[in-house]
Amino acid sequence: MSTRRLRGGRVFDPANGVNGEVRDIAMRDGRIVALEAREPVDEEIDAGGCIVLAGGIDLHSHIGGGKVNLARLLLPQQECRVCSPGTLATGLRYAEMGYTSVFEPAMAASNARHAHMEMGDVPIVDHGAYVMLGNDELFLELLSRGSEPQRLRDYVGWVVHATKALGVKVVNPAGISAFKFNQRRLDVDEPHVHWQVTPRQVITALARAVHELGLAHPLHIHASNLGVAGNIASTLATMEALEGLPGHLTHVQFHCYGAEGPRKFSSAALALAEALDAHPNCSIDIGQVLFGQTVTASGDTMRQHANADLAHPRKGILGDIECDSGCGVLPFRYREQSYVNALQWSIGLELFLQVRDPWRVVLTTDHPNGAPFTSYPHLMRLLMDKSFRDEQLARLHPEVAAESALKQITRELTLNEIAIMTRAAPARLLGLRDRGHLGAGAAADVAVYREQGDAEAMFSRAAWLFKDGEAVVREGRVVATPVGATHFAEPVFDAGVQRLLDDYSDRPLGVHKRYAVIGHDELCSCCNGGRLLPSACAARSV
């Protein structure tokens, strides 16, 4: 039994209403404990001059699964290594920045094992994944036949169970499948050329299934028309399609474009911010764009194919996968002097700064799509420092520099708000009750940073990082590399769904049906022997 006390740091723990007060934080056996100030401990650490936060939680970062690995194969050049690091480097860089949990948002159902294997090889951080549904032929066929909601629910529950997912994601609802039938675009109320179902129907049905199964994380939505000028209309229509049920709209920066102005491409950040006020059932993460070389990796083959000519360097990978998903990997360089890229940068920041409720906004770059996750500290400074932001804005394409709404936005995010967007809010949105905060009983994932005026420097290197109570980073250097744990949901569903699977396929999820479900032992071996953290689900009704 070892006990540690972090003495005298300024604590930001928004989940428990602690906002920068000087407090001691004590840890014992991997948990935060309430300890009297005089009680002796095994190790006392002077955290004077430091801020103390829960370990960071990234709820949308492509760290594992086929796509990222294809990106690595595609980009052996040195200059691209930052955007497609190996799993070992990924875990180390996250830890150095004070992050302790990272979630892969786009796990192909047919290749869940691969995703779990890669995540298991990302050291230090805990992980989990959202399985992609809503483009699998079986779901679309069930929907087109007018199947009962409980049937759809049971099928979704089975897929979550089989793939050991934490949540469910939909990518370009019905659009990835439609592209396999040579459909090149799909609006929210447009029917899939073969199955005759609309993205709206897919969203409504999946949101209901996720809700009824009692999955903690709302349906994770990569909406229709990613990157298309004027797509704010389909984004707002997607919010309506939820019919009041919870939904998390991801990388909204890419879905927040108007078609105004001489270039028919404009910011719709304010419209989305207002829509969020009107839809308390919705949360978002941003998918901030930052300048430089990166690689885009998405299941959205329909949109990635449309953008293939923009790849830099000029190459890319596109794939149709096992009747359940797709894969598009395109390298990309965001340029300050590009009107579109500069506006994308501005729109992301506008969203961060214009959405009123920080508990429904999560800080992401959609790694590596908007920028590598290693640029989070830079992003935090942009959000916390108006003059720094203005300096950056002035360097951009002159029309954006002159007209961006950012010029008028004076808001600077506080440390408390950063702690919400990078810790407390993602934990709450994922249902991780013992993560993302520093209350007694929480897991002792604790990040300590030396307080300084430059937020970028501060958040680049944690002074200490504790993972489940053990020091893993000291002065920005990794000192231990434990294997992270795997979060997954355990929904309850009618076992009779097996008959449905038998009727439709002899090879559910692409393999012999006997091996479709990943059992706990197999998950453990895929995940490199890390702990399994199942979360029970309480069924709900609409």
Partner: protein, 421 residues
């Protein structure tokens, strides 16, 4: 007998066959696949597995200790073969990082065609379930497909009455005897120069310049344009030198078709753990095989770090060869000292081949036969394997972990952290 065995002997990883325990060998039911049968026959047990040092049989522990002692003395080891599963690959990467070894797969030269094309231009690919569901035209380019992947057409569903496939075309090869009965077949012999034929095909589609156009290739181009979902199948092992040019051109044809209709390529390759190890080493280090993980980071050179080339040029001073599949596939002959991890039958052959000098042999399990495991299918899907028998053999992962434990502590200087720079 439950049809619950997954065959590890090629990268189709067919699941759904049954195995019967015969007096000596395991007997396959549900398929007449010659590759599976040969794989099983070669692994029939006649003698107890034996570890040996320089040809002398010793206890496994003794061989392991000697292997670790020799490995620690090599200044620049080569990890070759790498015929193993996911768990073996994970362990071998740790060993590579710890010893600063160069690494390449036994079929690295073949693997290179697809990799170079991918690194230069990318690819358009599809998977087996997609072919079964929607491919109305399948074109095998320069490969009979079933010569090395006997169950391929069955896995594509071409033997099913409800297959959407309306035509199966072979370009540049004869039609194989083993072929689906329900799908109309067409053979285009071509000029004998596959690359030139593919260039003509691309020219017919308007993607590359070209003069003379064979009517048969022009009609194939028309078929491809009219197809709703055409699949162009190629096989890395049948490509000539500079096969990357072929793969690049093939992907260009596919990309062009996708301008108006749907099409994809499908690669046959990556058996014997090649795709698996490629995937695992790539995700761990960020770079593919033919690399070296050292304190300075990971260095990748797809040409210079070719395994055979390194041996030929004496750029390494020891070979650790891992091949847990076919026992008849012996490590390359070399005057360099060797440590070999292979199925028991390989140990017998190596000793008989008088190649046992300066060699330590450690018997290991074959994934999917002696042990459970995971392999990457030719289309990228990870398939779980089950054990069909228990001969008490350790997996590659276990042997490599024991080697790591026995290496001298000072050899452990290169931590995973340093490799991840």
């Amino acid at each position: 007998m439950e049809p619950d065995w997954t065959c590890p002997f090629c990268s189709l990883l067919c699941d759904g066959f049954a195995l019967e325990r015969g007096p000596q060998a395991l007997v396959l039911h549900g398929s007449d696949c010659p590759r599976a049968r040969a794989g099983l026959a070669a692994q029939a047990r006649h003698e107890a597995p034996a570890a040996w040092i320089d040809g002398t049989v010793v206890a496994p522990e003794e061989a392991l200790a000697e292997a670790a002692r020799r490995l620690a003395q090599w200044r620049q080891p080569l990890l070759g073969g790498l015929g193993t599963d996911m768990a073996g690959a994970r362990a071998l990467f740790r060993l590579a990082a710890r010893t600063g070894a160069l690494y390449d797969h036994g079929d690295g030269e073949t693997l290179l065609h697809g990799l170079r094309a991918l690194q230069d231009r990318g690819q358009w690919y599809t998977t087996l379930a997609e072919i079964r569901a929607r491919a109305d035209l399948v074109v095998c380019v320069g490969t009979q497909a079933v010569a090395h992947y006997p169950e391929f057409f069955r896995r594509c569903g071409l033997d099913r009455p409800d297959t959407p496939c309306r035509r199966l075309v072979f370009l540049g090869v004869d039609a194989p005897a083993r072929r689906p009965q329900n799908v109309p077949l067409q053979c285009i012999p071509g000029s004998g120069d596959l690359l030139a034929d593919l260039q003509q095909l691309a020219a017919c589609l308007g993607t590359a310049p070209g003069g003379r156009r064979e009517p048969e290739l022009a009609s194939l181009a028309a078929l491809l344009r009219e197809a709703r979902y055409a699949v162009l199948v190629w096989e890395s092992a049948t490509l000539p030198a500079h096969g990357a040019l072929f793969v690049e051109l093939l992907n260009l044809v596919v990309a062009t078709l996708n301008g108006s209709t749907r099409a994809a390529s499908f690669a046959l390759g990556g058996s014997d753990g090649a795709y698996t190890v490629q995937q695992v080493f790539t995700w761990l280090s960020g770079l593919p095989l033919r690399s070296r993980a050292s304190a300075a980071g990971v260095e990748h050179d797809p040409v210079r770090f070719g395994g055979q080339r390194l041996l030929d040029e004496h750029a390494v001073d020891g070979l650790l060869w891992v091949w847990s599949f076919a026992p008849e596939r012996l490590p390359p002959t070399t005057p360099l000292p060797r440590i070999v991890l292979g199925p028991p039958g390989m140990g017998l052959r190596l000793r008989q081949a008088e190649a046992a000098r300066h060699c330590v042999f450690l018997p290991v399990a074959t994934p999917g036969l002696d042990a459970a495991g995971h392999l990457f299918r030719t289309d990228g899907v990870v398939v779980p394997l089950v054990a069909a028998r228990d001969e008490g053999l350790p997996g590659v992962d276990r042997v490599v972990v024991r080697l790591l434990e026995q290496l001298e502590p000072q050899h452990a200087a290169r931590s995973l952290g340093e490799v991840a720079k």
